[in-house]
Amino acid sequence: MTLSELKKGAIGIVKEFTDLEMSVKLMEMGCLPGEQITVSRIAPLGDPIAVNVSGYQLSLRRFEASTIILQ
């Protein structure tokens, strides 16, 4: 299951990434394997989404979220 399939309010744990370039950026922002992630909000037009990770709110597009595989 990937982060983009996670419903609003649901909690997941980051397992791995499918895209190397994206993973470097995501990890710098505190989105690391083993980290708990919650979908807190979805933009009015359905994309991007906002997630809570590492104690703050991060926004990312659905495509970017689909490169994050959850446990």
Binding site: M27, S40, R41, L45, Y56, S59, L60, R61
Partner: protein
Amino acid sequence: MKADIRVALVGNPNTGKSTLFNTLTGLNQKIGNFPGVTVDKKTGYCQLADGRTAQIIDLPGTYSLYPKSQDESIVFSILADKANPLTPDLVVVILDATNLKRNLLLYTQVADLKIPVIIALNMMDLAKKSGINIDVDLFSKKLGVPVVPMSARKTEGIDKLKAAITFANKVALQEESIEVEAIAPQLIDAISGEFNLDNPYYALQLAHQHETIKFISAAESERIEELEKEFSFHSQKAQGAETIARYSFINELLYDTVKTPDTAQDETLSNKIDKILTHKVFGFIIFFCVLLFMFQSIFSWSAYPMELIADLFVWVQSHLHQILPAGPLTGLVVDGVIGGLSGVMVFIPQIAILFAFISILEDTGYMSRVTFMMDKLMRKVGLNGKSVVPLIGGFACAVPSIMSTRTIENWKDRMITIMVTPLVTCSARLPIYTLLIALVVPNRNVWWLFNLQGLALTGMYVFSLVSAIVVAFVFKLILKGRERGYFIMEIPVYRMPRWKNVAY
């Protein structure tokens, strides 16, 4: 002014870096550009307790030393280039105490460059409020650097920070965070050997960034490239490994020194506000109302000061005409120079009000919500959620708006935004529109309600927006993107605007 010590402020975006800079330097500051790039360089001076003067350099906010956008690439260049006149003797790393984990990543990178560091632990008041308990002494001991808890907004801890700067060590004493050599042992050895470097992390950064940094020669850059091939160095994999190693160091550090309560994020005030401001229907209505209010006030509030300025110039001109003898030189000075000046000065109130609005919207964190809401819509025409800010700014003046596009990481999105921003009707075009419309369009009412001239003016604004969208769409098809666009962005917690910053 001559400075005895140069201090750079480094930190994540939204950590209160600018507030701290303003408090430290007061009105004693200068804004320019970093050499070779149009990135704002803010420097100022601060008097220390022992009579020395410190030059304070405010570096752009960044999450890591690996740059994602133009402004961020400045940070490493300034910190690492020994020949640069701005290279700091001391770095103050500002950490947001409410979000230490992500903030510490940048700290560990800067610390590993072995420049003397002080930590300013900002937003302690907010951290206390949300029940975060930080053992500052242990934290300082574990890192081996002075840590100053403070709250820049309430100007708490500023004196302690000044004292820490005064008594700062000239040599870097911080503890190692990670074993840098383990990431690419042979390559780091080779680069350190050939370039005579004593810092392994500096060597590693050169390996990552040699193509973009300006202070090494093309030949040196090529040599590094050769070495990378020889030891099959993969930049992204190495960066990933480094980040993971750094976070495991940070987690261990925080485990011992920081206690965070487990409160549900959903209960925060920020979240409640967001439920309304990014709502499917209300979100857009509120955004539209904010824009409407903004433009309405730009035109109504600025009318009076604009008249004053115009009258002042007319008064000066008529007086000069009386005093000076008539002739071509007088004509040049009075009607040319002063007349021209008045044509420009009249718009200062409008532009000032617009900038004040934009800075309030940015400061409170509303702009990033707008970016969040608009991204999908903007992407359809080849723009980016982040293009909204320059486009709105374009209604005031295209020049600063184009400068603000450098926060858009993606090259193609940035180029398209730059090309279409001048198409948006800026405030200086307004008098021309009004004049031409008054000449060409008859002043009568249509459909009882609407004034034909007013409709024509609205039409010009709509036309400018439509043309911007069409041109953006065309460029989307023409331009070839070299890099992939992405939208990984922090959404900061809502904060009250800093009225001092708005005034600047």
